[in-house]
Amino acid sequence: MRSAEQKRGEHLQRRTKRILATSLFAILWIATVASGLRTLFHYENTPGRVGALPRAWPATQIERSSDRPTLIMLAHPHCPCTRASVGELAQIMARLQGRVSAYVLFVKPKETGRDWDGTDLVRSAEAIPGVKVLLDPDGVEARRFGAETSGHTVLFGADGRLLFSGGITASRGHAGDNAGESAITALVNNQTPAQTEALVFGCALANRGETGPTALCLK
């Protein structure tokens, strides 16, 4: 028969072990969760690359509007992050009520078929009133507008001058108010924007090998 003292000692020992295990587990948990969140947030807030931006309307097959600003978004049809950018574009178009001519160009490599551009993202863009959706074979137009990251948006004035260049989401795939959206709205409304450039968050429009080291969006 174990004495009460022994039982009490064993109980205390088990309790101490449990506290130690819990404390250790808690520390490990905090560290793991903190690092994981940090990695996740860091990934979401790391902008993509931007190519050489034209100062004025480049030579392109896209028709520029002469009586109003022209907005062009370069996008990857499969980029999940661009869903937020398309959403923000819809907000901008709704807010500006036709005072801007807008295009969304989905990059389509040569060897891709119909499945490439048959995504819900393309259909979402097509559904935005006043937005023309075009395919950009091999990303030729993207390169002309200096875009290397999906969701990159440029705004040209009626006079062909570049007014704005950058993303219209606050972070990767993150909907909501952001600096790019505010700048475009201000520029179309003939106001002075707080900034004319913004970071672009999205997938890379082309392989790194195709665009060089600066063409990749960060993972």
Binding site: T22, G36, F41, P80, C203
Partner: protein, 852 residues
């Protein structure tokens, strides 16, 4: 509001129990909410993975793609966030740390989901939802870490990833306030909700504790009830039983719970039980019925079963509550009562028969004297029927002259409880009087007089006649005795002259012829004198005038004295007087010494006279144990025929001896018989013709005066503690019993004086010699010796010479006084005694001896 039970201990118990219940409830909530969050965490983890797969399964680089970081984040980060709180809830559900870890983890899960859904505004509701779910803990402090995590998330993101929070580099202060406001807004109401829940939980706990206490009380009553109690289902099965019921029916609780009431009910009583149950179910009132149960050992048990219906809150019948009381003893008592009642009725019937057939009136009367019941014989006694008498006071029937006495006797009856042989007169219905003899007893408990009455009219008349006849005879007898007494006295006077002158003539030298004539005159005179004396003695006995002095008399002395007197006569007639064995000197009888001597002489004279020449007369005495002493005188005479024995003690009946030459008056034995009876003894004779006769006298044994004095001396010489006390002994020699009693009473309060008495002079001398008293009181007129002679003998003997002698005598002549003082008396007191003088003389006489 719940009211605590009375008493300090009751209050403490309820509060403690309420706190205990509250803590239990709270712990249950904590554990349940822990489990809820554990499941929620797991669900959120899986949901996050699915969302990641749906929203951003791949990340693209041109045409090439790879798994999106959200997928890995959802799997690993979501898992990491969930695993710790799930583990905690597994190992210690309800622990305090769990709630805070879960609060943090849940908020982190919100952040993860918001990230996985691309910051959709809808996903932000997860934060508010999480706060609400956290409030399930009803612990407002849990909201603090959740709110802190939300704040830290915004703060840290604002620092490190400012765009991720508000989308702009410089966040608007108003937006921050708005975000914080909504969270705090919700927190405030959730805190209020938590506090209200806590109050409600406390209230519930308090009510539950009170309910438990109340239920405990009822359970205690149920368990400790002195009657059997049970909760029975509608199907008659036992749901709950108390100990008393189990003991009553002999089953254990578990056994009884397997039974139904039908199982233990006596078969004949089952239908009634079912009917009672149906009546209750149909709204009948509470029923209480007597029935029989069968104990486990098979014994039949009589019980009273009271049942009522228990309903639920909706009023639907739920159970029966039955209360069972063991009435077996009562049933047995009732049975015994019935038996007793039946026996009583039978006895009453028998009594009535006895009363109705009794020749005596048997009746009972209440405390107010009214007849309660009367036997049929009353009609014969009083002329009234029982119906006419019942309720009527019996006094009304009593003859008016006897009513006062009757009422007095009735009072005596009530005090003593019983009377018998009371006779009073009643007036019959026809007006005639009837004498009634009553025996009655009074019952104080019932206040009833039980009487038996008997018609004694004839008996009373006869008794009255007999009484009158006896009184007449007594008067005649008394007159006869008086006549004899007077006549004897009148005869003595001339007889005195006849005997006197006859003796004078005898002394004057008469001639032989004259001497013969003179002897005839003297003998005839003496015979006549004896006859007169005996007649006088009988007369005195019968008239009650004979004075006897009963005292212890030595049988040996009395017999020797009588024998010495009879020897000359016996020798003259050639009769041998014998005493076959030495007489026992210690035998004393209570008798008058002179009269005993007279009886013995009479018997011896008869024996000598009626025994032929050369015959034998034997005198003896015998005792039987401590009983009376028998003195026997036997002769060898002709004997007495048995038919004549009855006349032997009849006066003047000589049984034919008057025809013989034996002289006699026929009064001797009659006188002996009366004298012996006067001395409380018996006298008788055994005789057979040809064998002689044996006369015997039996007298009560008396204690020897010597032994009594010795015993008194021994007892009186020592006090109770054994020390010798100053004690003086006085010997009083006096033949008069009244005088003896007087002196005894005069000295009775003198505790230091012991009185010895003697009624004869010789006995007095012997007592003086043996006991050497300190003082002798001496009467001068003693039956055996004169007082002066006693004094003289005392003076002669050395042992008694120094003992002072005080003479007490009625003779107050100076000559007598001088004579006795000269003879050696210490003092002379005359009768009647002067008490003061008596004690003075006593004290003065004893003083020198005391000093010595």
């Amino acid at each position: 509001m719940f009211e605590v039970s009375l008493g300090a201990s009751g209050v403490n118990y309820s509060v403690e129990r309420a706190n205990e219940l509250f803590e239990q409830h709270r712990q249950e909530i904590y554990r349940a909410t822990d489990r809820l969050f554990a499941r929620l965490m797991f669900f959120q983890w899986i949901a996050g993975i699915l969302i990641a797969f749906l929203v951003a399964p791949l990340t693209w680089e041109g045409q090439s793609s790879q798994v999106h970081l959200h997928i890995w984040g959802a799997i690993f980060l979501g898992g990491a966030i969930s695993i710790f709180p799930i583990w905690l809830t597994r190992i210690s559900p309800g622990a305090t740390i769990n709630r805070y870890v879960i609060a943090v983890a849940q908020t982190l899960m919100s952040a993860l989901l918001i990230a996985l859904t691309g910051g959709r505004i809808e996903t932000h509701f997860h934060v508010f939802g999480s706060l609400v779910i956290l409030s399930f803990y009803r612990d407002w402090r849990v909201l603090i870490p959740a709110t802190v995590v939300v704040a830290l998330d915004h703060f840290l993101r604002g620092i490190y990833w400012p765009y991720s929070v508000y989308g702009v580099l410089t966040a608007s202060p108003l937006r921050s306030l708005e975000h914080a406001g909504w969270v705090i807004f919700e927190d405030v109401f959730l805190v209020i909700s938590c506090l209200r829940s806590i109050r409600e939980m406390r209230s519930i706990a308090t009510r539950t504790a009170a309910l438990e206490a109340s239920e405990q009380g009822f359970r205690q009553i149920f368990e400790d009830a002195p009657i059997g109690m049970a909760v029975v289902g509608l199907d008659e099965s036992f749901n709950q039983v108390n100990t008393t019921l189990c003991q009553m029916v002999g089953y254990t609780e578990s056994e009884l719970m397997q039974c139904t009431t039908v199982d233990i009910t006596f078969e004949d009583d089952i239908p009634q039980g079912k009917q009672n149950a149906e009546e209750l179910l149909t709204g009948g009132p509470r029923s209480s019925v007597e029935r029989r149960y069968i104990r486990k050992d098979g014994e039949v048990l009589w019980i009273t079963r009271t049942a009522c219906l228990m309903r639920d809150v909706d009023g639907h019948p739920r159970n029966f509550l039955i209360m069972v009381e063991d009435i077996s003893e009562r049933k047995q008592a009732e049975k015994a009562l019935c038996e007793s009642k039946r026996e009583l009725e039978a006895a009453h019937h028998a009594n009535q028969l006895i009363m109705d057939n009794s020749q005596d009136v048997i009746c009972s009367v209440d405390e107010w004297g009214r007849f309660i019941s009367v036997s049929a014989a009353c009609e014969q006694l009083w002329g009234y029927t029982p119906a006419e008498l019942v309720g009527r006071p019996y006094v009304e029937l009593v003859c008016p002259e006897d009513r006062a006495l009757t009422n007095q006797v009735a009072e005596v009856l009530r005090m003593d409880g019983k009377i018998s042989d009371f006779v009073n007169r009643y007036t019959r219905k026809d007006g005639t009087l009837v004498d009634v003899l009553w025996s009655a007893s009074w019952s104080e408990a019932d206040k009833i007089m039980f009487c038996v009455a008997h018609d004694v009219t004839d008996r009373a008349r006869i008794e009255k006649e007999l009484r009158e006849a006896k009184e007449e005879a007594d008067r005649a007898n008394h007159a006869k005795s008086e006549f004899l007494s007077r006549m004897s006295h009148e005869l003595r006077t001339p007889l005195n002259a006849i005997l006197g002158f006859g003796q004078l003539l005898e002394r004057q030298n008469p001639t032989e012829a004259q001497r013969t004539r003179v002897n005839h005159i003297i003998n005839a005179g003496r015979h006549l004198l004896n006859l007169i004396n005996e007649v006088l003695d009988i007369s005195r006995v019968e008239t009650g005038n004979l004075q006897l002095s009963l005292e212890p008399v030595c049988v040996t002395e009395a017999l020797e004295e009588a024998l010495s007197l009879m020897r000359p006569l016996a020798a003259e007639r050639g009769i041998e007087l014998l005493t076959p064995a030495p007489l026992e000197p210690a035998d004393y009888v209570m008798a008058d010494r002179q009269r005993l001597q007279q009886v013995l002489l009479n018997l011896l004279t008869n024996a000598v006279k009626y025994t032929p020449v050369a015959g034998k007369v034997t005198v003896s005495s015998s005792t039987i144990g401590s009983g009376p002493i028998r003195i026997m005188v036997s002769d060898t005479g002709a004997g007495i025929p048995s038919e004549k024995l009855a006349r032997l003690f009849t006066p003047f009946d000589r049984l034919g001896a008057e025809q013989s030459d034996v002289e006699g008056t026929g009064l001797g034995l009659a006188l002996c018989q009366r004298l012996i009876h006067a001395m409380h003894g018996t006298i008788g004779v055994d005789s057979a013709v040809g064998s002689g006769s044996r006369f015997w006298v039996e007298l009560a044994r008396a204690e020897s005066p010597f032994e009594r004095v010795a015993l008194e001396k021994h007892n009186g010489a020592y006090s109770q503690n054994g020390s010798e006390v100053c004690s003086r002994t006085i010997l009083y020699v006096e033949d008069n019993l009244s005088n003896l009693t007087l002196i005894e009473q005069m000295l009775s309060d003198q505790s230091h004086i012991k009185l010895i008495t003697a009624m004869q002079g010789k006995l007095g001398i012997e007592l003086a010699r043996r006991h050497s008293p300190d003082l002798i009181l001496l009467d001068l007129h003693l039956p055996d010796l004169a007082g002066w002679e006693v004094l003289s003998r005392l003076q002669i003997q050395e042992a008694t010479r120094e003992i002072p002698v005080v003479i007490i005598s009625a003779d107050a002549t100076s000559r007598q006084i001088k004579r006795l003082m000269a003879a050696g008396a210490s003092a002379y007191l005359t009768k009647p005694l002067d008490m003061q003088e008596f004690f003075r003389v006593i004290n003065e006489t004893l003083a020198p001896r005391l000093a010595a």
